[in-house]
């Protein structure tokens, strides 16, 4: 536990500037949303989507940076005893996940603010879902697996540092991932809504219509009376995938760095 806390502190010192810059960038997006207050809902949705995507990319770059301190062994000197691979991986992942949680919850708050600026009345339950439930669902389904995949990629490349062929594992994993992901997504699509969906944004007819509306007037799967039913299967599957990726990365770290 002490090792985890020390590594978490080191991670905060090393990646703190990245995290602060990312959180600070929300001021820019808030300014952009304020400038677009008299435009259509679509422009504000595009701005929020851009903020979410760029945030995920910055987080992946932050967690995947190669660090000379790790290669030089200063961690072991600082900690006096070598730490388990899982501790290293967990501390890096936990710091990035904490930054992501803060970023996306504030982004959810911005979405709520943008809706309020547009004159939409937001009930308390829908506001809480917009600020907390949806960002955390997105983090668990998309951001956490992306961060775990990035960690595995960097450790996988580091495993070939001695042989000097780091570009081969990087190329194979980056080319193979979209293909494996396609199978995974088609499987998730098959099992979706086997369990009851979670009703959200019940009091937000405007958002419900925006998210689920189609040009032919037919609602998408998982919607009823303007209420969005979020499937819970992707959440559990992607969380399980995240855990598997982290365990594989920690095993690899132990074999390579220990």
């Amino acid at each position: 536990m002490k090792g985890f806390r020390t590594l978490f502190w080191l991670e905060a010192r090393r990646s703190g500037a990245w995290a602060l810059a990312l959180i600070g960038s929300l001021a820019f997006w808030a300014w952009g949303l304020y400038q677009a207050y008299d435009t259509t809902v679509g422009i504000r949705a595009i701005l929020l989507t851009m903020a979410a995507v760029i945030g995920a990319i910055v987080l992946a770059l932050m967690i995947g940076r190669l660090r000379g301190e790790t290669r030089g062994g200063q961690f072991q000197v600082l900690l006096l005893t070598p730490q388990r691979g899982l501790t290293h991986i967990a501390s890096r992942f936990a710091f990035a996940l904490a930054t992501a949680s803060l970023y996306y919850i504030v982004l959810g708050g911005l979405a709520w603010w943008a809706l309020a600026m547009a004159g939409g009345s937001v009930p308390a339950s829908s506001a809480a879902q917009l600020v907390l439930a949806l960002p955390l669902y997105g983090i668990a389904t998309l951001v956490a697996p992306l961060l775990a995949w990035t960690l595995l990629l960097m450790v996988f490349i580091a495993a070939y540092r001695v042989s000097g062929t780091g570009w081969i594992p990087g190329t194979v994993m980056i080319l193979g991932t979209p293909l494996a992901l396609r199978w995974l997504i088609s499987w998730i699509d098959r099992v979706c809504y086997s369990l009851p969906g979670w009703p959200i944004l019940g009091g937000l007819q405007q958002v419900g219509a925006f998210v689920t509306g189609t040009s032919d007037g037919v609602g998408l799967r998982g919607t009823a009376d303007g209420v969005v039913y979020v499937p819970q299967e992707p959440l559990w599957i992607m969380l399980a995938l995240t855990v598997v990726l982290l365990i594989v990365a920690s095993r690899m770290w132990r074999e390579v760095e220990a």
């Binding site: 070939y160 081969i168 594992p169 194979v172 193979g176």
Partner: protein
């Protein structure tokens, strides 16, 4: 003509991925890294042989 061309392309891609898989196997002492390398190489081989390429 097109089928013959695609056959040659697939054979060349298989050789390339096979070479990568070989380098991934011999380039590390970590068995987990070998396993991950074999998994992603197999995904690429499957796509080349039975995929839509």
């Amino acid at each position: 003509m097109t089928q013959a061309f695609m056959f040659v392309v697939r054979a060349l891609l298989l050789c390339l991925v096979g070479f990568w898989a070989f380098r991934l196997w011999i380039g590390t002492a970590s068995w987990t890294a070998r396993g991950v390398g074999v998994f992603f190489s197999a995904v690429l081989v499957w796509q080349i042989v039975a995929g839509t390429l």
